[in-house]
């Protein structure tokens, strides 16, 4: 069954995605032909147990890992035909990433971490700083711009990561277990923030999580079991 819904203009399409991992002499099949489409501006949660391949799927969509078979279309662009450099540049311009373990650079301040994607897009100076502080204000951390990541709580670090994921105005935001490392209240706060900032800006959000509560923030939920995506 195709996990596809036909409303709105199609923004992301996954066609028969397959991915294996070689572990010594054994091959572990993680994704066994994933098919799905996501409409423009849609927020989708992908739910699965630990080890079900959720993060792998997100890594494939973002282009930080390569598919073994299948195709990924984002806004009419087939990412699987792009070479490494083109995929990276696509990610740089169009994708924002929120990780489970925040992945802030420890030697950069909060402000510098947030500005980084803008810098990679060749934008810096006052304009970049102002945009960073707007977003930090939006996530409630405008007063922590000079702090280093390890001086922040887990929830605060994830709010910085959200600001970083959005600063270059990407069309697609990928969130990999964004609350997996946080307590329940903080988790809800983060999901609310992510939902508000992406939905109001008309961005696509793909959220992978093992929590059905977290999935409730999305427009719809897909389930990843035994390497296949289903509607439930």
């Amino acid at each position: 069954m195709r996990a596809t819904e036909g409303h709105g203009m199609e923004f992301v399409r996954l066609e028969d995605l397959c991915k294996d991992f070689q572990e010594g002499p054994h091959t572990r099949v993680v994704l066994r032909g994933i098919n799905a489409t996501f409409a423009r501006g849609e927020s989708v949660a992908i739910v699965g147990e630990s080890g079900s391949g959720k993060s792998t799927l997100l890594n494939l969509i973002s282009g930080i890992d390569r598919v073994d078979r299948g195709a990924i279309w984002v806004d009419g662009q087939n990412l699987t035909t792009l070479d490494e450099r083109q995929r990276t540049l696509f990610r740089r311009h169009h994708i924002g990433f929120v990780f489970q373990f925040f992945n802030l650079l420890p030697t950069l301040t909060v402000e510098e971490n947030v500005v980084l994607p803008l810098e990679l897009n060749g934008i810096n100076g006052m304009g970049a700083t102002e945009r960073a502080y707007d977003l930090l204000d939006a996530v409630g951390l405008a007063d922590r711009g000079d702090s280093f990541p390890d001086r922040l709580s887990g929830g605060e670090q994830q709010r910085v990561a959200i600001a970083r994921a959005l600063i270059h105005d990407p069309r697609l935001v990928l969130a990999d277990e964004p609350t997996g490392n946080l307590d329940e209240d903080t988790g809800h706060h983060i999901l609310g923030l992510l939902d508000r900032l992406t939905r109001h800006a008309g961005k696509n959000l793909i959220l992978v999580t093992h929590s059905r509560d977290a999935a409730a923030y999305a427009d719809r939920t897909l389930y990843l079991t035994e390497g296949r995506l289903t509607n439930g």
């Binding site: 890594n59 990433f97 810098e119």
Partner: protein
């Protein structure tokens, strides 16, 4: 809460789980190093090279020192005193009289010279003319039943040109009793026959005999052109022999009619001065080898610190789990100890191999500059090996102590915080800079102290270098801030990111940069010193070389040549149509109350005009007039320093007419020897020593003549009377520079080794640094940094670190050069060098720094480029 005590039947809790805990801790250490295998191997290699350099230089020094002792002892034997006779030696009649009068029981006449023989490989050997009947108490070669059988002794005494050589050396050159041999001394050749082989009983005597050829007194006199003269008479006077010595002095006074030249003196007084001067040379080498170890230590410190900072979260976790400070400290020190032992073990082996060439270089230099070493070969004393090994292990453990302390004392909370570490590093950078500035001032003050103590001087030099190293973190931060805007303008975002990464990771980057800086500053310092020295010598040679051609007897070393030239030579040379003028020069070694002094006496009316003076009486012309027309002398700077002489003093020398005071008219710059030289007029010399011999002819040619052609003509014409060398000035200049280059060959080798140690250290430090950032690079890739940009970023970061190290090494290296040129050299050898600053060492240092850093970046750059960002993100 109630106090819970174990009741009957209850087990007490174990007092500690230290055995299994320490096993686990060791596992942690072992796994860290096995997972970072390249880093561990490079660290071991760094230590091994540092130890190898120290061991090699120590072996060279010990071997050279031993060779010196053996060379002296083989000739002096058990003599306690010697009767010496100034430049002309001792009349053999004095020996006859001494024996006839029975003034002393044990006396042996000696004629000694350095000879070469094509059959003995052409290397210098000590030709010893002896009286076998007088030898037994002094040297064991002729002791009954031990070495020379009666048949050999008979042949030695009765056969003209009879020669005895050590069996070892004979076998080496495939000679045997009966083989013909040609001996050449100072251009005179004589054929002889080996009548017997000396086979000493013990190894020491075997080595001592290695450089000796024995002939009878008459043969030696004939070969050296000193018929009827002896070089000295060896004496054995019992302990506390003042009465015996006084008696001999009285005897000599009578038989020489009051000449002060023929004197009896203690042997140690003669060899002591040479030993002292070679000691300065050897101390310099030791200091340089220690410098290589210091560079190595710095790099060990860097690597151990890195391994600690890299594992701070691990140590934090262990501390949270209840591992004590002592256990963490023990773990880090234990790791260092193991690495130190492995590195030192390998270093000892490598040092023995490297020692073989080091010995050749050192003995050659000592032969060139101080004393002809006829004994060669490498000594491998266990003490040297142990010393190098212990030094390597201690250096490793000492270098690991601060990081071990850091690992043990950091609070678990801070240990887990990277920003805590970086904030601490930033605060430490300012404190280190203050400390560094203070060290530079203290070091400079120490160098300025009016002392001749070399250890104090080297201590001051080390303080200055260490001071610069401590300035590194702050300067790195400043420089990174300074280069960021222009780099951003030229290469965009990477130009902004790279300097920021370097300055924001000072805890990792600063020490690596400091280590490279120290190594490069040593390279610059030594290069500048050698360049300055060479340039000074080149300028000095231009001023000091007289005439167009110099005619003298061939010499076996670079030492002052005191072999007389045949009396007919002057007439033959003067007859050549191209020759305009011939000046005579007599070089001799005479005695003074402070030991032997080399003198040069000439009849040139203008020689002194071309010299450069450190101090003088009046104008150059006035000064030289006092010498050429009066009885004044001018002394070289090393001699003035050695004997603490100034222009208002007198040089006291034993002459044929008693102890005489020669007024000092000037002190001139001279780099011919570290013993120093006094120049006087030939007439003053002849009058004082009643010696008409000449050791060199200084020839001036008519304009537009070819010196090479004339030199060839003269050599050919003179060959009939004596094989003399007629060398154009250019050839002498080249020969002098060749000696110079040989002298510094070992210095340059040590410098190169220090650079290799630094190179390896930096490679390992930066490699580890970049590999540690794997996860960060993964994040950057996920955020959109392309492979090419990532590679550029890594190379830019390592290149910037190399650039900073190179830039900082410039002032540090210059300061080191100032210390070496103006303080260390002056205090070691007594001469002032002119500082010559060339651009090459600076460019070289920057190039090596950047190259090492870029090389260190290549592997991580390639590896990260190949790795999928998803894998990099999974890296812990």
């Amino acid at each position: 809460m109630d106090d819970v005590r174990p009741g009957p039947g209850m087990h007490s809790p174990p007092r500690s789980g230290s055995t299994s805990a320490s096993g686990t801790l060791w596992n942690i250490g072992w796994r860290y190093f096995s997972r970072h295998l390249w880093q561990s191997l490079l660290m071991v290699l760094g230590i091994a090279l540092g130890v190898a350099v120290v061991v090699a230089v120590d072996l060279a020094n010990v071997s050279a020192s031993r060779a010196f002792d053996l060379s002296v002892d083989s000739v002096a034997g058990r003599a306690t005193h010697q009767i010496v006779g100034g430049p002309q030696g001792v009349d053999e009649a004095i020996y006859t009289e001494l024996r006839r009068e029975g003034v002393v029981r044990s006396a042996a006449p000696i004629v000694a010279a350095y000879a070469t023989s094509p059959q003995l490989g052409g290397r210098p050997v000590q030709l010893l003319g002896v009286d076998p009947f007088a030898e037994a108490p002094f040297r064991s070669y002729f002791s009954a039943g031990q070495t020379a059988p009666v048949a050999q002794l008979t042949a030695f005494l009765t056969r003209p040109g009879a020669v005895l050589v050590a069996a070892d050396i004979a076998y080496r050159y495939e000679l045997d009793a009966g083989s013909a041999i040609t001996l050449e001394v100072a251009g005179r050749s004589r054929s002889g026959t080996i009548v017997g082989l000396l086979e000493p009983q013990d190894d020491l005597s075997r080595r001592a005999l290695e450089g000796i050829v024995l002939v009878d007194i008459a043969t030696a006199q004939e070969l050296t052109g000193r018929v009827g003269r002896l070089d000295r008479i060896d004496l054995i006077l019992p302990e506390g022999s003042e009465p015996g010595q006084t008696e001999i002095e009285a005897f000599l006074h009578t038989v020489t009619q009051g000449s002060a030249t023929v004197r009896v003196q203690e042997l140690e007084a003669r060899t002591g001065a040479t030993r002292q001067m070679t000691a300065a040379f050897r101390l310099n080498l030791s200091a340089l080898s220690l410098l290589a170890l210091v560079v190595g230590m710095f790099l060990i410190y860097n690597t151990m610190t890195f391994s600690v900072v890299q594992r701070r979260p691990l140590f934090g976790t262990l501390r949270c789990l209840g591992v004590t400070r002592r256990e963490v400290f023990g773990l880090v020190i234990g790791e260092a100890l193991i690495i130190g032992i492995i590195g030192a073990g390998l270093g000892i082996g490598l040092g023995i191999v490297m020692g073989q060439s080091a010995v050749q270089m050192v003995t050659r230099t000592i032969t060139d500059l101080y004393f002809v070493l006829t004994v060669r070969g490498v000594e491998i004393p266990t003490v040297s090996l142990l010393k190098g090994g212990v030094l390597g292990v201690v250096a490793t453990v000492a270098a690991a102590t601060p990081p071990a302390y850091e690992a043990a004392t950091v609070t678990p909370r801070v240990a887990l915080s990277r920003s805590g570490l970086e904030s601490k590093a930033e605060r430490a950078a300012s404190l280190a800079a203050i400390g560094g500035s203070a060290l530079i001032l203290v070091g400079a003050g120490t160098l300025g102290l009016p002392t001749t103590n070399l250890i104090v001087s080297f201590g001051g030099t080390f303080l200055v270098v260490l001071g610069f190293a401590l300035l590194t973190p702050l300067v790195t931060k400043w420089l990174m801030q300074a280069v960021r805007p222009p780099l951003q303008r030229t290469i965009g975002v990477l130009g902004r990111m790279a300097p920021r990464d370097v300055s924001k990771s000072l805890s990792r980057t600063a020490i690596a940069v400091a280590a490279l800086m120290v190594a490069m500053s040593v390279t610059i310092g030594i290069s500048l010193m050698i360049t300055s020295f060479r340039q000074t010598v080149v300028i000095w040679l231009g001023e000091a070389l007289q005439g167009d051609i110099v005619v003298s007897a061939p010499s076996v070393s670079g030492l002052q040549d005191v072999t007389p030239v045949d009396g007919q030579a002057e007439r033959i040379v003067a007859k050549h149509p191209a020759v305009a003028r011939v000046d005579l020069l007599r070089s001799a070694t005479v005695d003074s109350p402070q030991g032997p002094v080399d003198i040069e006496a000439g009849n040139s009316s203008d020689y002194g005009h071309g010299l450069r003076y450190l101090a003088r009486e009046g104008t150059v012309r006035d000064t030289w007039d006092l010498v050429s027309e009066g009885d004044a002398v001018i002394v070289s700077e090393p001699l003035a320093n050695r004997l603490s002489l100034s222009t208002s003093d007198y040089l006291n020398l034993y002459t044929d007419r008693g102890l005489r005071w020669f007024p000092i008219a000037g002190i001139y710059y001279d780099y011919a020897s570290t013993r120093g030289t006094a120049i006087m007029s030939l007439s003053t010399y002849r009058e004082a020593w009643r010696d008409d011999a000449v050791t060199a002819l200084v020839v001036r040619l008519n304009p537009d003549t070819d010196p090479d052609q004339v030199a060839q003509d003269l050599s050919a014409e003179l060959a009939a009377i004596q094989r003399l060398l007629a060398r154009p000035n250019e050839a002498i200049r080249q020969a002098a520079l060749a000696i110079f280059d040989r002298t510094f060959a070992i210095t340059a080798a040590l410098q190169a080794l220090a650079t290799i140690v630094a190179f390896i250290g930096v490679l390992s430090a930066l490699l580890a640094l970049q590999l540690e950032k794997q996860r960060q690079f993964g994040i950057l890739r996920a955020l959109g940094l392309t492979v090419r940009e990532l590679r550029s970023l890594i190379l830019l970061e390592t290149g910037l670190m190399g650039g900073v190290a190179g830039a900082l090494a410039m002032p540090a290296g210059f300061a080191l050069a100032l210390a070496l040129v103006y303080v260390i050299n002056r205090r070691s050898f007594g001469w002032t060098l002119q500082m010559v600053v060339t651009i090459a060492p600076f460019v070289e240092a920057i190039a090596v720094s950047v190259l090492a850093s870029l090389l260190a970046g290549i592997y991580p750059a390639l590896r990260m480029g190949k790795m999928a960002p998803a894998d990099a993100l999974r890296y812990e």
